[in-house]
């Protein structure tokens, strides 16, 4: 067992982990942040996407130890007192979720898309950029709309 410490959603946290403890396990089991999900075992579905040092990663494919000292943001870290983050709001307004299982990963990936591609996103860019996020419920139609609308809203227009 070793001790890891990191900043998660702005708070300093630490915990005891085995070397083999995945970052997603640390978040879910040690920190009780169960918003980050596990939908596959081949690093493909994206239900586990979070941000580490500002970049999207699959938390099922990173060791907790590797995040020692990192700045981590999960779905729980987006909304504040004032309400939902604009991207979360866009998912609600555009019915971009059904069962909600893929949703945390979708939202975190969406933010990463905006970070890299800006606030004006065309449909094909969004579809291509969502390659690593699988949704069985929505057929993606409304997710794509939500990401576009959320991106715009983040730009303040």
């Amino acid at each position: 067992m070793s001790t890891v410490s990191m900043t998660v959603n702005g708070k300093a946290v630490c915990g005891e982990v085995e070397s083999r403890t995945l970052l997603v396990q640390f978040l879910r089991e040690n920190l009780g942040l169960t918003g980050t999900h596990v939908g596959c075992d081949t690093s493909q579905c994206g239900a586990c996407v979070i941000h580490v040092n500002g970049k999207s990663v699959k938390s099922c494919t990173m060791l907790a130890i590797q995040a020692d000292g990192a700045d981590v943001t999960t779905i729980e870290g987006l909304a504040d007192e004032a309400g939902l983050h604009p991207m979360q709001q866009a998912f609600m307004d555009n019915h971009g979720l059904q069962c909600g299982f893929c949703t945390p990963g979708m939202v975190m990936s969406a933010l990463d898309i905006v970070n890299r591609n800006g606030n004006e996103l065309d449909e094909s860019t969004v579809r291509k950029e969502l390659e690593g996020n699988i949704c069985r419920c929505t057929g993606y139609h409304n997710i794509v709309k939500a990401v576009q609308a959320g991106a715009k809203a983040m730009g303040g227009s």
Partner: protein, 787 residues
Amino acid sequence: MIENGIGASVRRKEDQRFLIGKGNYTDDINVAGQTHAVFVRSPHAHAEIKGIDCSDALAAPGVVAVLTGDDLAADGIGPLICGVTVTSDDGEPHRAPAHPALAQGKVNYVGDHVAIVIAETRAQARDAAELVDVDYSVLPAVIDTGSAADSGQPQIHEVAPDNVCYNWPFGDKEGVEAAFAGAHKVSKLDLVNNRMVTNPMEPRAALGEYNQGMDEITLHLTTQNPHVHRLVLSAFNQLAPEHKLRVVGPDVGGGFGAKIFVYAEELVVGWACRKIKRPVKWNGDRTEAFLADAHGRDHVSTAEMAMDENGKFLAMRVQTQANLGAYLSTFSTMVPSYLYAFLLAGQYSTPLIYSEVKAVFTNTAPVDACRGAGRPEATYLVERLVDICAADMGLDPAEIRRRNFIPVDAFPYQTPVVQCYDSGDYPAALDKAMELADYSGFSARAEEAKSRGKLRGIGLSSYVEACGIAPSAAVGQLGAGVGLWESAQVRFNPTGNVQVFTGTHSHGQGHETTFAQLVCDQLGVPIENIEVIHGDTARTQFGMGTYGSRSLAVGGVAIARACDKLIAKGKKIAAHALEAAEGDIEFVDGNFSVAGTDKAMNIAEVAFTAYVPHSYPEGVEPGFDENAFFDPTNFSFPAGTHICEVEVDPDTGVVEVVKYSAVDDFGRLINPMIVEGQVHGGIAHGVGQALLEGCSYDSEGQLVTASYMDYAMPRADNLPSFDIDYAPTNPPDNPLGVKGCGEAGAIGAPPAVINAISNALGVRHIDMPATPEAVWRAAQQAAAVSA
């Protein structure tokens, strides 16, 4: 007009918690003292178990228990059951081999359950599971659907000679034969309905807790129907008496059928937590979902249509071999029989239909309902065959459909295959869809595509399905072990807010919103004051759960009925308070008023009065809380036309869906936003089946497509945005005028896609999934023929 009532695209109430990461899925729940379970699964498709040595596993760090089929048998638990009887052609019920939850002497598919290892951590359980030493003697396996019943095949179950579960002929054989003999033309098609892995994104999980003081078990499960789970686990599997077993289906991350069934893991976890007197948690991973979730589809069929000289359908004949896998899953038997053959009329007035279904066992995972269940198989067969008929008659695919549609004035329409369609206007949906798809502009688009070296094709699919499952008397006659009514309770609290308890279960469908809208509309209570509660046998009276697009059409009506009762009672209370005759009380938009006066009180005040009955009508019970059950008198029959347009790259065989238009009749829409989302998801599922998803076993019975590395799930870049519209009719049998929309897309889409590809390539048929290689080969052949 009521805000947020019927017809409004109200934002979903459930979204808040999902969006901030506060959903409560089974794996999110942890309890003090919890242990973790891992299942030892068979690596072989078919093998005898000579012995199991658990000693090394038991000695491994953190291990609490290792239990096998012997322990289960000793405690008299199980076996798993199949709840629907199909009578075979010899007059006997279908062959039902024993289905132990942990193998007893034999394993029958890769992934079959052999033992459960329970340890302090999941990692320890997994480490120890590798130490369970199972001595297998491998037997030859039966894998292929089409040849499973051939002579000389290995036998899987003694009770099922030739691996046949049932032979089920249905319809007027002689009449059909006579019609074929006198036909102007017969069109014929061999086709395969590919096996799918249902793949809700949340893998299955179970958490069992035993309360020794109360002698009670609580099971949190990824279930679409907690009460059905409780009933089966209790009545048939001897887990615990119903009143000592609580089943909770918390937030569930998609189901699509896969979470209807009672699985081995669920029973074993429930049993084990009592045995070790500690909570036991099992969380399946995706590999286990591929291996051991019930799969869907898997038919091999021949279909024939007899026509007159105008292309009128005279009779249809179908032969289907359906794979049920190694054991019978909970509802498996009814899928290729009642849910399939009864839909073979499609949207057409074909007067005579005869089908023969042979259901077979193979050494593969059990096969059961998957989004659509039987209806996608029927629709695919009919709508492919109709396109073949059009080609053989030299008619446009739209024209041959039009000539054979059940006329609008023929509803309710009794088909030759049991079902009596409630309402429909098939030409209207076709016309609207053709307009939406700009059907008439297709040839210009095809020309333009050609100039870019692409082959463009267009395909129609005019489907009808039966949902709103189901009238209990009808399913009882057919051999179902349960009734399929639904229950509801609508409870006012003294302060005027409302709790709605439903026996249906939401795992993405948005019931917490739609049902609240229903109540809001009927009772005039603001939607934020209404809470819909589902998924817990300890909170709702009973219910049959959610599948077969039944929740609104059946469960919604039960809620409306409970609301009716509240209004009737409220009138009595209001009449007393307002000093008027009960007959003079009107109820409009949440207010009880005395007709022709301005004397009124709102429903919250009535509720308060009912709980604080200081001045109260004589003979009326206090309280404002009503129950209702609803048993439908008929199925409901959503229908529509979907039109798919594709572009094929003939050099690589890659198919791009460039345009997809759907016009559906779901009756009345309560929340159009949610309905549209259901249609999108269904279409994606159907396009997935047509283009991407092919579950495949090798000849030894190893699952080749056991992960997303090999099983292609539809992703955002595989799909276009969809054009959706409606052509509603008013179903007379449903009190709310609703039909059901959850499966339509998955039913309508596959033939639309394959018809479009066949059209693009100019070929008669291509099997699903139409992978790039398959399409490339078909394009090569078509080019060779035309050269």
